[in-house]
């Protein structure tokens, strides 16, 4: 919490205090301030993170989005509500240190089994990862139910198929996963760097310590990954087979 013990005011408006980048031009300053208000309103209104793209689509053109959002995030840094970024999408969330206050809001969440939790961690830290690899790491066969449970949470998704014999499906985490666990991006996974450093994120015993690393952009496919096609989804029973028209 704020050490100085002040009243945690919002930072003064750029319009009043001036900003390095726009300080010279009052009109621009006003513009930034107004854009900030708009972005604030849009993000505040939504319970789900609002992507920067969606945001840009509703703000005046030519807005310096990073500047606007950074300023807004700073405004809320010490408030009871914070502006957070989840994989490039913005959302307001109650401050973490006020969790004790919020128990009344908490909805009973289905507790994940130990197996599911462990599997979630494996998927998060090793993605893109195939089922066989998950089993290798955990040293046990994966029950279909566990994977289903994880898919149901909306935290895990099929990413693509590994370009290797049998073309196994690869799994990864979703933006909802990041949102739920308060991660801005995959690189923020706790302990990721140490694990990487210790070579513990490698599939095999690392002779050379060449360590895979979760991609910065979780949607980008890995080099040896193919995107899922409709046909794949059909195979996996996720799409009803197409009926040919003719």
């Amino acid at each position: 919490m704020s050490e100085s013990g002040n009243v945690v005011p919002f930072r003064p408006d750029e319009a009043e205090a001036g900003d390095d980048r726009h300080g010279d031009n009052p009109a621009e300053r006003l513009h930034l301030a107004e854009t900030k208000r708009m972005a604030e309103a849009i993000v505040f209104a939504s319970a789900e993170p609002v992507s920067e793209k969606a945001l840009a689509g509703r703000l005046p053109e030519g807005v310096d989005m990073p500047a606007v959002m950074a300023a807004l995030r700073a405004d809320y840094e010490r408030r009871g509500v914070n502006l957070v970024c989840v994989n490039g999408a913005w959302a307001f969330r109650t401050a973490g240190d006020l969790a004790f206050l919020m128990t009344r809001q908490a909805v009973e969440q289905k507790k994940l089994s130990r197996a599911a939790l462990e599997m979630l961690a494996v998927i998060a830290y090793h993605q893109p990862v195939t089922r066989a690899e998950i089993e290798e790491i955990r040293g046990v066969e994966t029950s279909k139910g566990t994977l289903d449970t994880l898919m149901e949470t909306g935290w895990v998704r099929m990413r693509g198929r590994r370009r290797s014999p049998g073309r196994p499906v690869t799994y990864g985490t979703t933006d909802a996963f990041l949102d739920h666990f308060g991660l801005e991006e995959l690189r923020d996974l706790p302990g990721l760097d140490e694990l990487k450093g210790a070579g513990l994120l490698s599939a095999r015993m690392p002779a050379n310590f060449a360590v895979p690393q979760p991609p910065a952009n979780p949607d980008a496919l890995a080099e040896d990954e193919d995107p899922l096609t409709d046909l794949d989804l059909e195979d996996l029973g996720l799409l009803t087979p197409r009926v040919d028209d003719d």
Binding site: A99, R114, E118, I137
Partner: protein, 276 residues
């Protein structure tokens, strides 16, 4: 954020603590072992559990001792005639092999992995599994949305302005145009097929239209709406003229033409008394 979450009391303690606490109780009850293997997530999990009871860093555990522990454990389970999943037995066989490798000095003709290499692989797998356990624990103890951290409870539903963005392709447009024009054209053709007025049709219409008229009225006037259609004019005129002659003969209507090619006038039959 993470720290505050982890420090919070009354929330789940990190999983590895849970796990080691569990491990201790197991160890305590070791003599009267009633272990159900169901509690373990496979042989690697069991090994990790046993390694934990050595209470040292995984990097410094004695793999030999661990292998012996595991084998002993499995022995006891089998002595109790407990059903064991195959993978536990596979692991036991592998560990027995490892044990022998570790005990017997490396033979010159042996090209396979050395005991030390095998032990290192096992250590690596155990460490990796443990790391994932820790990671899972750290994850679940973060400030989680819907438990510790909350989204706006009253999101402002964006008023659904029904202004839709309509889409259609030029192909849609042309197809729609051609289809309806064609439909109509075909309908018209069909009417023309039966475009001949029968005498009966003409007669019925004349009786209906002229029968009650007292004033002379030009034939064209009655037939205006029937004549309007291009191409039907002659059949309408011919049939109605023929029908009118018949009606005159029957005395149902009267007909008059002032001179050749002048309009034909008709009226219903008048009461003879009123005729001037």
């Amino acid at each position: 954020m993470a720290q505050t979450g982890e420090q919070r009391s009354g929330k789940p303690i990190p999983m590895d603590q849970l796990w080691s606490a569990e491990a201790e109780t197991r160890t305590a009850s070791d003599p009267a072992l009633t272990v159900d293997v169901d509690g373990f997530e496979g042989p690697l999990d069991l090994l990790l559990h046993l390694a934990r009871t050595q209470k040292v860093d995984l990097a410094r555990i004695s793999v030999l001792a661990l292998a012996e522990q595991y084998l002993g454990f499995i022995e006891r389970l089998r002595a109790m005639r407990l059903e064991l999943a195959a993978d536990y037995l596979v692991m036991a066989a592998w560990l027995a092999y490892l044990k022998s490798k570790l005990l017997i000095p490396k033979q010159p003709q042996d090209d396979g992995q050395s005991g030390e290499e095998m032990a290192a692989v096992l250590q690596f797998r155990l460490k990796r599994l443990e790391a994932m356990r820790d990671a899972a624990a750290r994850l679940v103890n973060r400030n989680r949305l819907g438990r510790d951290v909350f989204a706006r409870g009253m999101p402002e539903t964006v008023a659904v302005d029904r202004r839709q963005d309509y889409t259609a392709s030029l192909y849609d447009l042309l197809t729609a145009y051609a289809a309806q024009r064609q439909r109509r054209a075909v309908t018209n053709v069909r009417i023309e097929k039966r475009g001949v007025w029968s005498l009966k049709e003409a007669r019925d219409i004349l009786v209906r239209l002229v029968g009650a008229l007292d004033d002379w009225t030009a034939l064209d006037r009655f037939l205006l709406r029937y004549l309007a259609e291009e191409g039907r004019r002659s059949t309408v005129l011919a049939s109605s003229f023929a029908a009118s002659l018949e009606l005159v003969r029957e005395g149902a209507i009267e007909i008059r033409q002032d001179q050749p090619f002048a309009p034909l006038y008709m009226r219903g039959r008048q009461n003879p008394a009123e005729v001037d």
